[in-house]
């Protein structure tokens, strides 16, 4: 009842909530991250436009990482084509078919983990749905975000999709073997666009066809994985010491 004058009208009260609308997803993402951390698995969220060369990049990665146990979750609206390609390339994979959803979320990843023996892996690739918008806003529990950007996409893509590039830890400029046929594409302009959208711009030029840059990308992964394993060991030591 209205307490101001006692008139009997219902009272309208403002309630300050300050609730992040992604909180539910972020909770599940933290759960996934804890799992990856505990088992020393480096989880890589690989994003990019449809056709930017994500699957070909992973196939090329598998050819240079014989000493690693790789696995992948592969998101698409329909078909398990990418997961089958990755299986054939020696990366055990599980498809996540999203139906009409344009991105993966932490819950979809968590559910798919039940079907993939991921605990023994060194590295888990999560190949997101091809899309430069929605995947960027959903934390999946990954350690790093990598964006594949093909040279054929034009040099102002980062300026057009700043949300995606802001979240990237690394951008892989793919299909660089095509550069001689694309005189209008200026790599310096791509680098400039990245400097205006990524606080710590980091670009590696790669070609899944010629193998250019794949070693550099694998070295980057190796460094990130060492950092993850060290962090995991530190956490374990701290936990033991506390216990």
């Amino acid at each position: 009842m209205c307490e101001t004058c006692g008139c009997g009208d219902p009272e309208v009260v403002p309630v300050e909530v300050q609730q992040d609308l992604l909180a539910g997803n972020d909770r599940t993402a933290r759960h996934n991250r804890d799992h990856f951390m505990r088992d020393g698995v480096l989880a890589v969220n690989l994003m990019g436009s449809p056709g930017s060369g994500k699957t070909a990049l992973l196939e090329a990665t598998a050819r240079r990482t014989d000493d690693w146990r790789l696995g992948a979750l592969s998101g698409d609206l329909a078909t398990d084509n990418d997961a089958r390609r990755l299986d054939a390339a020696g990366i055990p994979s599980e498809a996540i078919t999203t139906g009409s959803a344009c991105h993966l979320d932490a819950r979809l990843v968590h559910r798919a983990l039940h079907d993939l023996p991921w605990r023994d892996l060194d590295l888990l690739f999560i190949e997101n749905v091809g899309n430069l918008v929605c995947p960027a806003i959903y934390d999946l529990g990954q350690e790093v975000n990598v964006v594949a950007l093909a040279v054929t996409e034009g040099d102002d893509k980062p300026l057009k999709y700043p949300v995606m590039f802001r979240k990237a830890d690394l951008v892989l400029l793919t299909k660089v073997d095509l550069l001689p046929y694309l005189p209008q594409v200026n790599v310096a302009a791509i680098e400039d666009a990245l400097a205006r959208t990524m606080p710590e711009p980091n670009l590696i030029r790669v070609s899944a066809v010629t193998g250019e840059g794949i070693d550099k990308w694998v070295d980057w992964l190796r460094a990130r994985r060492s950092a993850t394993v060290c962090a995991e060991a530190t956490t374990a030591t701290t936990t033991t010491a506390t216990a």
């Binding site: 909530v17 609308l21 539910g24 344009c102 806003i137 802001r166 710590e200």
Partner: protein, 113 residues
């Protein structure tokens, strides 16, 4: 079209709040949407119109407050001019996003008996 799933979680949060406070009606919601949150405010508004029927928000207005992106230097606090390289000209430190990535239900106005 992640705006639809965001509206679903908005309705869930409002419903839980309204229930826990014994509200008889919800009048108004205020949501902050950052420029770099990846959310399209018009799509969010139309998703809300579509989904609010038969929920505790059926009679509630949705106010969307856009929050501009603001980048600054984490060391000296200098603001990075919009469109510039995201690195402090003075300290050379990578810029930090200070505002502009929020997707936040800020306030609910509800009627209590």
């Amino acid at each position: 079209m992640h705006e639809y799933s965001l509206i679903q979680s908005l309705l869930d949060v409002v419903d839980a709040e309204a229930r826990s406070r014994g509200a008889t009606a919800v009048h108004h919601l205020r949501v902050q949407v950052g420029e770099l949150s990846g959310v399209e405010t018009e799509l969010l508004a139309s998703a809300y119109e579509l989904f609010r029927e038969h929920t505790s928000c059926a009679g509630a207005d949705l106010e969307i407050v856009p929050v501009p992106a603001r980048w600054g230097c984490p060391d000296c606090g200098a603001e990075i001019v919009r469109g510039d390289v995201l690195r402090c000209a003075a300290c050379a430190r990578p810029a930090q996003l200070e505002t502009g990535d929020e997707i936040l239900l800020e306030r609910i106005e509800m009627e209590v008996a």
